[in-house]
């Protein structure tokens, strides 16, 4: 779920861009370092980014039949670690804005924060904790991917509530979270399930 162009006041656009910047810069640094050490990883990382984009461009089968699509950031975070996802996710968001008219340019900072930073970190944290607890891989993947998706949606609702706090942030957050929950919660569950199938297939190869 990306915030569309024109939805955030200028101060919020700038604020979220500033908040995201350190993570993206760290991501670019991490990526550049990786590429300097292993030039061949350039193509591999690009393929990982392209994969994330493709996943987000594919319509997912869902109960509501709406044009829901997975965010793919949970899988990316498990496979490539959150800092790299911060960079790749940012590029994916730019591509989505300009190739699919999905999201926006002034809202890029906010979307990067929810989808390329919050989602991957939450998903990755869940994955690490569950792995320590020695839960089955299926559980790790399901929870990580579903939570990454949910975190993105919760942060987005918060961002909208901050921008339109009527009358209070709390009430507005509850409002946005409730309305978007209709599509986002089934989506998170479905993405988690898809993740389980994805990793099962990968393990068998």
């Amino acid at each position: 779920m990306h915030i569309a162009e024109g939805f955030l006041p200028v101060s919020h656009c700038v604020g979220w861009a500033v908040a995201s910047a350190p993570f993206v810069v760290q991501g670019v640094r991490a990526t550049v370092r990786q590429v300097r050490e292993h030039p061949e990883n350039r193509v591999l990382l690009a393929a990982a980014g392209a994969f994330t984009f493709i996943l987000s461009a594919l319509k997912m089968p869902s109960v509501t039949g709406s044009s829901s699509h997975p965010t793919g950031t949970g899988a990316g975070a498990i496979l490539f670690r959150p800092p790299v996802m911060a960079f790749l996710g940012t590029v994916v968001l730019v591509f989505q804005a300009l190739l699919l008219a999905h999201g926006g340019l002034t809202t890029l900072g906010a979307n990067v924060f929810s989808m390329a930073i919050a989602g991957p970190w939450v998903g990755y944290a869940a994955y690490v904790v569950l792995r320590r607890l020695r839960t089955p891989l299926e559980v790790q993947v399901f929870v990580a991917m579903a939570l990454a998706d949910l975190a993105t949606y919760v942060v987005t609702s918060g961002q909208l509530a901050l921008a339109y706090p009527d009358p209070t942030f709390g009430a507005a957050f509850a409002k946005f979270a409730t309305i978007f929950a209709l599509t986002q919660i089934p989506l998170a569950v479905i993405e988690g399930l898809v993740g389980v199938v994805l990793f099962r297939v990968l393990r068998s190869i």
């Binding site: 569309a4 162009e5 024109g6 939805f7 955030l8 200028v10 670019v28 990526t31 550049v32 590429v35 300097r36 030039p39 061949e40 350039r42 193509v43 591999l44 990382l45 690009a46 393929a47 990982a48 980014g49 392209a50 994969f51 984009f53 493709i54 461009a57 594919l58 089968p61 709406s66 044009s67 793919g72 899988a75 960079f87 790749l88 591509f95 804005a97 300009l98 190739l99 699919l100 008219a101 999905h102 926006g104 340019l105 002034t106 909208l160 339109y164 009527d166 009358p167 009430a171 509850a174 409002k175 309305i179 978007f180 479905i190 898809v194 993740g195 199938v197 994805l198 099962r200 990968l202």
Partner: protein, 259 residues
């Protein structure tokens, strides 16, 4: 609809205009769209950019309309949520409808209309950039403004690979559909998971093959290529300045809800 914006960008007569010039127009419009009062600026932006796109950048009107409706689901849900107030109503607002803690007021509707206007106007600006500027030109521009080369190399390779992978994804999906993989939710989910895995495996495989192909072409650590250098277009810049000035002037005399 997949990638029709991209296809339009490659064939656009505005491809010849420097990215900086187009960015000036798009960024300037986006900024004014957000800072000046929404009325009458946002309808003017929608109108002006639509004319620019269809008349001068030769974008098909069907494509233009289709592109603007792409973010519709989010925009409609978001705008309706803004129109709906929760909790105690602000003193002095005109209540149009109320039910328990929920209310719709003249002010909340005005706010929603403002966001709607800005959102549609903003979408016009972004889509105009999207249909006139292929991603490679933006990547080149990114290099010029100092984003590290390896990062831009990855962005460029991502763009190239995404079409290769997209073809795979479409083929896998239609092969699955042909064998009834998308009948019923359970099977659909399983098929979609296999599709995601399939695309990931192909991404891996493709990257290895491209890596080998590049090594054969002498790639060691730099993907240096010719860059398209496009001179500034004075007429375009002048028109953009005039346009932004008109918007700004109208903005200072306009009204609407400043967010």
């Amino acid at each position: 609809m997949a990638f029709s914006l991209d296809a339009a960008a490659w064939g656009s007569p505005w491809r010849r205009i420097a990215v900086a010039d187009k960015t000036f127009l798009v960024a300037g419009t986006l900024l004014l769209d957000l800072v000046v009062p929404a009325w009458p600026v946002t309808p003017l932006v929608v109108l002006g950019l639509s004319v620019a796109a269809i008349r001068f950048a030769r974008v098909g009107w069907r494509l233009w309309l289709a592109a603007l409706t792409l973010p519709l689901a989010f925009v409609v849900t978001g705008v309706l949520s803004i129109a709906l107030e929760v909790g105690p109503v602000h003193p002095g607002s005109t209540i149009w409808w109320a039910w328990g803690p929920l209310a719709i007021t003249a002010e909340s509707v005005a706010r929603a209309a403002t966001v709607l206007g800005r959102s549609v106007a903003g979408a016009c600006a972004v889509v105009l950039l999207a249909v006139s500027t292929p991603m490679v030109d933006l990547v080149d521009a990114g290099r010029r403004v100092g984003i590290p080369g390896p990062a831009m190399d990855i962005a460029a390779l991502m763009y190239r690979l995404l079409f290769v992978l997209w073809e795979s994804a479409v083929t896998i999906r239609s092969a699955q559909a042909a064998r009834l993989g998308y009948v019923g939710l359970r099977r659909s989910l399983r098929s979609f998971g296999a599709l995601a895995a399939g695309v990931l495996v192909r991404a891996w495989e493709r990257s290895r093959r491209l890596e080998r192909g590049l090594a054969g072409r002498g790639y060691t650590d730099d993907l240096r290529t010719l860059r398209h250098v496009r001179p500034h277009t004075p007429a375009f810049l002048a028109a953009t300045c005039a346009w932004l000035l008109v918007l700004a002037a109208l903005g200072t005399h306009g009204f609407g809800v400043l967010a």
